[in-house]
């Protein structure tokens, strides 16, 4: 379980200071799929970065099974990310000089996962293992980034607008694949999006605005990527 309590985050100093998060608290259960919904500048990405140990808050705590990660040293925070979390970003951030196989291996090596090629096969890119990211479409690149994150065997997967750069059809395919993998592997999942339709796929939804949670609710039934609007 992840317990986030009273998180505040301010960027800049004195007159240039901008507060991104104003005392945000929430809980993510094991195996839960949570969507953080909000417009640009609402603080959802900052919250995702803090919850995943990419950034530190000015105040507040982020506890993974009662262990506060905000108090960890840089080295221990790196180890935490290595062992616990996976990331999927809107811009993919694949390593441009390495082919599909090696990009996925980047995640696999951290978890000593020698069967990572099964994941490449599962995302449908086995025949493109030798291709460089620049030789793939946007959807294929995102599938590589999903495979890379899955190969790491994370306990929690953080996704920052994973379909933001994709067309509808590819976006649905990618979301469908992510959700299937989540059900199969059982990791928790936190997804940031501004697309309110995607929220219908989640177990729980947290709506944000101006650095605060304005609404949170639980869906009775999760919809699939092909059942939601776009």
């Amino acid at each position: 379980m992840i317990e986030i309590a009273n998180i505040t985050k301010t960027y800049g100093t004195s007159e240039n200071a901008a507060t991104a998060l104003k005392g945000v608290s929430l809980t993510i259960d094991n195996g839960d799929f949570m969507v953080l919904l909000g417009a640009s500048g609402s603080g959802k990405s900052t919250l995702l970065h803090i919850a995943s140990g990419l950034e530190r808050p000015n105040s507040g705590t982020v506890k993974y099974d009662d262990a506060d990660i905000t108090a960890l040293s840089d080295d221990k925070m790196t180890t935490f990310r290595k062992e616990k979390v996976g990331f999927i970003f809107q811009q993919y951030y694949l390593l441009p000089n390495l082919n599909v196989d090696k990009n996925v291996k980047m995640g696999a090596d951290l978890a000593s996962n020698r069967d990572y090629r099964n994941i490449i096969r599962a995302v449908g890119l086995y025949d493109k293992m030798n291709k460089l990211p620049s030789e793939l479409s946007g959807g294929e690149q995102q599938r590589v980034s999903i495979a890379r994150a899955l190969a790491k065997k994370p306990q929690v997967m953080f996704l920052d607008e994973p379909t933001g750069a994709l067309d509808e059809e590819t976006g649905r395919q990618v979301l469908n694949y992510i959700c299937e993998m989540q059900k199969e592997v059982g990791f928790s999942m936190v997804m940031v999006t501004h697309n309110s339709n995607i929220a219908e796929m989640a177990d729980s939804v947290v709506k944000m605005n101006s650095g605060k949670i304005i609404e949170s609710y639980t869906n009775e039934k999760r919809k699939t990527a092909y059942e939601i609007g776009w």
Partner: protein
């Protein structure tokens, strides 16, 4: 103007390279031209041999130093032009889309030649500052008559004006060639550099750790950087060990100090340029490695340590080169002279001093840049996009 004058000011490596080359060449060539004026005063055949030796050794020094540094400056200039185009692809693509011709954009690259002008002018000025001491040192054994210092305008043309013009032209022509790409490709920031791919051929490749693969790919991705890092250690070894050799065979202390100084300055500048580019070129990779949980040590090892073997190979080759060059020069100048061949052997002590000092400088560089890598965050990368 498309390329600003400010962009030329960033080419510190070229400025230093040119300053060093012109400093050495001006000292020796000015001295040679001035010595012609005293040639008719020499009547003693033995003195004439020393005169010829001095002139030919000066010419050789100029050819070796000027040639090597000149070629490296060419490589560095081409590297800077390519780097500029790579990092300003979108802006250049927009200009092309707006209707600017390749030639019109390329013409702006002439300002890169200003760095050559600045460097050569600094070297020329420094040479005249050191000239009295240099002339005194060259003739401190009293064998040759004193030579008064003259300002020879021909050197101004050959060592400052011509190089600046040639390098400006080179920058324009090379950029013209590099700009011959569709505007859309530039705007999208597509990289047209060919990446050598290693094929996945069954189970065996799975056994090579990812970081090892990344090391190899970092090394393969930019050959010019491999050359610069190799060149830095080569220069350092050749110049520093040679400075000891010069002292050993009775050469002037000033020459020895100058040689060592040039070696250190060139090595540090080139290393700075190359390692900074390595880090900048791999910012996204470093950020992602850190996000995924690779430790700082693993990140710095994957990006920087692949250059270490090349550096030390460069050092060994630089040492061998200077030893061979000294032997050759001894043979060419003294073999048939009445003075006989001077006693010259490989100086192990000099080698050890040069090696230890180089290791200290190189490893300090790696430490500084490893610390800089720790400050790279994904947030920073995202903000840039």
């Amino acid at each position: 103007m498309i390329i600003r004058l400010r962009d030329s000011a960033k080419l510190l490596g070229i400025v230093i390279m040119c300053a060093c080359a012109v400093l050495v060449c001006t000292l020796f060539l000015n001295s040679n031209i001035d010595m012609v004026r005293i040639k008719n005063q020499i009547t003693d055949p033995e003195m004439m041999i020393i005169y010829d030796l001095t002139v030919s050794s000066s010419n050789m020094t100029c050819a070796v130093t000027g040639g090597a540094l000149g070629l490296t400056t060419v490589v560095m200039l081409l590297f800077y032009v390519k780097h500029y185009i790579d990092t300003h692809k979108s802006e250049l693509g927009i200009l092309k889309a707006l209707g600017y011709s390749n030639w019109k954009i390329a013409k702006g690259f002439w300002v890169f030649g200003l760095s050559v002008f600045t460097g050569t002018a600094i070297g020329f000025g420094l040479a005249f500052a050191f000239m009295p001491m240099f002339y005194r040192e060259q003739r401190n054994d009293g064998t040759l008559p004193d030579v008064p210092i003259h300002f020879n305008p021909v050197l101004l043309v050959y060592l400052i004006i011509l190089p600046a013009l040639v390098f400006s032209l080179l920058a324009v022509l090379y950029s013209y060639r590099k700009l011959k790409r569709p505007a859309l490709e530039l705007i999208r920031g597509n990289n047209n550099t060919k990446i050598r791919k290693s094929k996945v051929t069954g189970k065996d490749k799975t056994d090579v750790p990812f970081l090892q693969e990344l090391k190899q790919s970092t090394l393969r991705s930019r050959f010019s950087l491999v050359f610069f890092i190799w060149f830095a250690s080569f220069c350092y070894a050749a110049a520093v060990v040679m400075s000891f050799s010069i002292s050993e065979i009775g050469g002037s202390d000033m020459m020895a100090v100058m040689m060592a100084g040039i070696g250190v300055v060139l090595a540090v500048t080139t290393l700075f340029l190359a390692v900074t580019t390595v880090i900048k070129g791999n910012t996204k990779t470093i950020a992602m490695l850190r996000v995924f949980g690779y430790s700082d040590r693993e990140c710095s090892s994957a990006i920087l340590s692949s250059y270490r073997p090349i550096t030390y190979v460069g050092f060994i080759l630089g040492t061998a080169y200077q030893h061979g060059l000294m032997k050759l020069m001894m043979f060419l100048f003294f073999n048939n002279s009445v003075l006989g061949l001077p006693d010259y052997h490989f100086n192990m002590q000099a080698f050890i001093i040069a090696f230890v000092s180089f290791v200290v400088i190189y490893e300090a560089f790696m430490k500084i840049y490893s610390a800089r890598m720790k400050r790279i965050s994904l947030k920073e990368v995202m903000m840039e996009e």
